[in-house]
């Protein structure tokens, strides 16, 4: 073999491996499972939005809350408030769907998961992607991901509404406090998980103090940042469990509303 120097063209070449990857583990498993889980969430959400049994005293299904149209039953309205009048005849869930959907769609963790599982960019580490060109999040449409923090502000409101729904689920059919059913428990757990997921957001971490360079000058914000950072390390797990909890809570309320199951009463 003749000696190569830094100038030889062959020296500027990477290893000409003809295979897409040399990984021997089941690297395709994680993206495949993610694909199935995310796709079922989308399918479920689609069905739920158009399903009209979203309310059964005292529970409101999370996918349709806050219920803001006049078509919402009295008890389902958020603080008895219905800013959208009779003219709005579509399912009321559509009014607020954009917020949680946009929040999750632009979430740094969900971005990772769907870039990998839906767009295969890359499907797994050290497995080449099928695309000829790549510009990432440098231009339209993906540059829009940068508005994530605005969805975060909106998600705080949604978190508050779901917490309110969980609290009023402690009332009975006559509106008296002191009731608790399995539905109450499910709504409470779901509200806690949604709030934790929201607070563990990377934009939240940035806003609390991540954007500062002198933590020592802002002790309270720094304290909040350390706390959010701890949650943030669990952001992926919180994204998944809160996704399942919201789906379970929503389905539970709808099944009770349809009379398919009866709510288990604790007291």
């Amino acid at each position: 073999m003749s000696q190569t120097t830094t100038d030889s063209p062959v020296r500027r070449q990477r290893a000409q491996l003809k295979v897409r990857t040399l990984r021997t583990d089941r690297w395709w498993l994680a993206p495949a499972l993610t694909f199935v889980a995310l796709a079922s969430f989308i399918v479920y959400g689609f069905w739920a939005i158009f399903d009209s049994s979203y309310f059964v005293e005292p529970y409101v299904a999370p996918f349709s809350s806050p219920c803001l149209a006049t078509s919402c039953p009295e008890g389902a309205r958020f603080l008895g408030f219905a800013p959208f009048g009779d003219w709005f005849t579509l399912p009321p869930g559509i009014l607020i769907l954009g917020l949680p959907a946009g929040f999750r769609l632009t979430c740094y963790y969900y971005r990772k998961s769907y870039y990998r599982s839906f767009w295969l960019s890359p499907p797994a580490c050290a497995v080449s992607e099928p695309h000829k060109k790549y510009s990432g999040e440098t231009r339209f449409p993906l540059i829009i991901q940068n508005i994530h923090r605005y969805f975060f502000y909106g998600a705080i409101v949604i978190g508050a509404v779901l917490s309110y729904d969980a609290v009023i689920a402690f009332r009975n059919h006559e509106g008296e406090w002191g009731h608790m059913g399995l539905g109450t428990l499910i709504l409470v757990v779901n509200a806690v998980l949604i709030v934790l997921y929201t607070l563990s957001c990377h934009s939240c971490r940035h806003i609390t103090a991540g954007r500062l360079n002198h933590f020592s000058r802002h002790p309270l914000r720094y304290k909040a940042w350390t706390w959010v950072s701890k949650l943030n390390a669990k952001h992926q797990q919180l994204a998944w469990v809160s996704m399942f909890s919201v789906m379970i809570a929503d389905l539970y309320v709808r099944l009770v509303a349809k009379g398919v199951i009866t709510d288990l009463q604790f007291f």
Partner: protein, 254 residues
């Protein structure tokens, strides 16, 4: 316990080469680099491999083992089954010099392009006073041993060689984040990160974090925070408005 392992090692000068099969002795407690050295000593005296410390601290022995970027000296043979064929190839993203040795100068060129630490003019060396909590974040990034496996695994350049001029790779975007977070650094690094060094190419799929032998949370602690800082500067109308009204610069506040 000694056994014979099956190895497939990339051999060749420059990019052209092939996988060569070897059967080689393995003893208890050995790592992949030991086996490569045994091949050199017994069957392939001209096999090229770069290494130095054999302690996971110099970052020289980066290769790909069964397709995954790993340090040869930190990959224990006991993590493989005895009948498993172990494939060792050079890092894919960089040109090959010979066998397992790649030319990593891409990384040094990128490092040079990043303006160094820039303290305020009125602070002289020796006058810096920093609280531990102010430098903690940057200290995580200082653990880097410059093995360049993060840049190697990053699909932005691994799968798209043409992106190399526009993208510094996770290693150096992390360097920019480190300086941007530094309490005494006054250089403007947000536009630089986005416009010159391609932070927007990163789609936060976290392979850099997955391969980092120092377990630095590159994506969560450097790249995403840096993306958020860029949003402050370029894409958030409220921060922009605030900086106009309160006359504070959005770059180095707080």
């Amino acid at each position: 316990m000694t056994y014979k392992a099956k190895f497939r090692v990339w051999r060749g000068e420059g990019g052209e080469g092939r996988l060569e099969d070897f059967t080689v002795e393995v003893n208890e407690g050995e790592v992949v680099l030991d086996i490569i050295h045994r091949l050199q000593a017994t069957q392939a005296p001209d096999l090229a491999v770069r290494w130095n410390c054999k302690a996971g601290k110099c970052g020289s022995c980066s290769v790909e083992i069964n397709g995954k970027p790993r340090l040869g000296c930190m990959t224990r043979m006991s993590t493989f089954a005895e009948d498993e064929v172990i494939t060792v190839t050079p890092m894919r993203t960089f040109p090959v010099i010979k066998d397992l040795v790649t030319d990593v100068s891409f990384n040094y060129e990128k490092a040079l392009q990043i303006p160094s630490f820039t303290p305020p003019k009125d602070v002289k060396p020796g006058e810096y006073r920093m609280k531990q909590i102010d430098v903690e974040r940057s200290q995580e990034f200082r653990k880097c041993i410059e093995c360049f496996m993060c840049n190697n695994v990053c699909h932005v350049i691994r799968d798209h060689d043409e992106n190399k001029p526009k993208f510094a790779g996770p290693r150096f975007l992390m360097r920019i984040a480190e300086l941007d977070m530094h309490p005494y650094d006054v250089a403007d690094r947000k536009d630089l990160a986005q416009e010159e060094h391609g932070l927007g190419y990163c789609n936060i799929t976290k392979c850099c974090t997955e391969v980092c032998p120092e377990h630095i949370k590159i994506t969560d602690n450097a790249l995403i925070p840096m993306k958020e800082r860029v949003v402050d500067r370029k894409y958030d109308p409220l921060v922009w408005l605030g900086s106009k009204i309160f006359k504070r610069s959005s770059s180095k506040t707080g």
